[in-house]
Symmetry: C2
Subunit: 340 residues, 2 copies
DNA sequence: CTGTTAGCGCATTCAC
DNA sequence: GTGAATGCGCTAACAG
């Protein structure tokens, strides 16, 4: 069975090519009997609709691109899966690329997607992404790009968590514990999410008795467990022993737990630990991890809606949408008591 | 800048279309000066190579499809990321679909990929996948399908872990601990991986003093933490308290740890726990989790190589490749002592 | 070495 | 209601 075309189908069914085409698109102007005959012929011949040909003709591809950094972080995995779901529901197919937080890989992937004529791109930008290089690739085909979870430009759509609010809510909780000091550990240095979370923490701690020095939090690392271990080691090796360690993300927190134990410090007892994201794992850890939920599924849904809108109407102003976070208090902070 | 074609470029550069086309493909038969002129024109006009048009003409799309069940399991995430990497290195773009272990979603995604003219498909089959429905979709375009990590047919290529060996190695370790009984918990009922792991465990335990009854292991569940909690609850509620709980996967094990603790049983002390996959998290848990590494990156690399070979030469016999597993012994079993 | 030509499979327009 | 003709942007084959 090779290359059965609409042509073959229409001939077999004894109708014209354009009739067969209309049947495909479910036109109501075709008599039942005719369209049944066509459908039968398609089934018998093993006809496969060739989207490339259709897309070329209609000059849209019904595909969307998604570039994320690393899906081994379940937070990004959840984001990715929901975007795929939303795209499929809207009739789009998804092309993916994993940048591994590398701007050059990301550029290659953007270029590929543009050549593949994607109708829109979800971009969870790699660390250090700048507007100019992205535009250079993307503007040639004027394909809309939506910034996901991190942003680097005000001129493009953005959907992400309300990181400032997330930081504030966490800060208020930590200060209510009676902690005297806190640091933030981990996360990519040049990411809007990290900057915003620090800002939220700073404003949330302002006026409280918690000493939070963002410069002490200069332990920027890769956004995974290895980064967490490394970051906490760096801080403790400076002789700093804060009452509360705030992880950039749950993935980072996992490494923080491990490194603390290597040093015979028990999280939740010797030091309180809190984090962002609230992936499923957070509450399964021992001790269960206090985390600010940032709802990747909601972000993904909103992002899909926004990008599809943009595709329909490119004249809109750039949109921003922030998803409200929720603090999940668990034993890693709740159990902890101030040293006396 | 809208729709700059090779035509426009060649006109601007003062060469013929075929010359411009040859420049694109890096032909050495074009004089430097000419090709520079062409490249300049492309840059100035903002030309974008249209792969759809090229693919249509050459009747191959340079895209591959990947269908996996759920990437929130880091094991599948690793598999997915490496496949993307290998595909990109070979010049292919990747279309993805997440079946969520649902055969109907999977069928839809297969259909979409076939219509998108993918050149090959990596399929990590959903539970209950059967050959006939898959072939019905896929054979119309005779696109090759490679079975990834689970299989449902001997007539298609397959790459996965050597699950039988993995089970045997784990069984031997567990019996060396002096355990008197073991059960397997979790995992999708109709998956080759589960069946094979049980077979490996059975043969590995044969002749030892460990009582392992696969029918006791009928606690099949979804392949995630919720499944682990549910499965272990089901077993314990029957009054069974084995010396060793073997999780279908690390993702499942996480839920087993949590449920044991809810019942005031400490993993690694009151009961030994072991698992398969050895995702990064396994050694970061407390206690660190004994697991049989199954190397998703190696599987993915091998799978990419095999599928690309198949695309080049569809006449080969179906291939099977098993990746050798390695037992990682950690405290969740090593720490445990038999009850006296 | 360059230029011209004819499709790839579909959607769409216009006569009929 | 149906059928023929045109072109999306590219590749490949062939003539100059």
């Amino acid at each position: 069975m090779n290359k059965v075309t609409l042509n073959d189908v229409s001939r077999a069914a004894g109708v014209s090519r354009s009739t067969a085409s209309l049947v495909l698109r479910g036109s109501s102007r075709i008599p039942e009997a005719t369209s049944d005959r066509v459908r039968l012929a398609m089934a018998e011949l093993g006809y496969v609709y060739n989207r490339h040909a259709a897309n070329m003709r209609r000059s849209q591809s019904m595909t969307l691109g998604l570039i994320v950094t690393d899906i081994r972080n379940p937070y990004f995995a959840g984001l990715t899966m929901t975007i795929e779901e939303a795209a499929h529901e809207a009739g789009y197919t998804l092309l993916v690329g994993y940048s591994r937080d590398d701007v050059e890989r990301q550029a290659l992937q953007l270029e590929t997607m543009v050549q593949q004529q994607v109708d829109g791109i979800f971009l969870l930008p790699a660390e250090g992404t700048e507007l100019a290089p992205v535009c250079q690739i993307v503007d040639r085909s004027s394909v809309p790009v939506l910034q996901l979870a991190r942003y680097f430009s005000e001129e493009m759509d953005y959907v992400g968590p309300d990181n400032i609010l997330a930081g504030q809510r966490l800060a208020r909780h930590v200060s209510s514990l009676g902690a005297a000091s806190a640091v933030l550990i981990g996360g990519p240095e040049y990411s809007s999410a990290r900057t915003e979370r620090i800002k939220g923490l700073e404003t949330g701690f302002a006026g409280s008795s918690v000493a939070f020095d963002a410069s002490l939090s200069a332990a920027t690392t890769t956004n995974n467990a290895a980064g967490g271990s490394e970051g906490v080691a760096r801080v403790l090796d400076q002789g700093i022993w804060p009452d509360c360690i705030i992880a950039y993300s749950d993935a980072v927190a996992l490494g923080i737990y491990a490194e603390l134990r290597r040093r015979n410090l028990e999280p939740g007892r010797d030091v309180s630990v809190a984090s962002f994201d609230d992936i499923a794992m957070a509450e399964l850890l021992l001790p269960p991890l206090t985390s600010v939920a940032t709802y990747p599924e909601l972000i993904a849904r909103k992002a899909a809606e926004m990008l599809l809108n943009r595709i329909r109407d490119s004249s809109l102003d750039p949109q921003r949408s922030l998803i409200e976070p929720a603090l999940k208090i668990r034993a890693s902070t709740a159990q902890w008591r101030p040293r006396t």
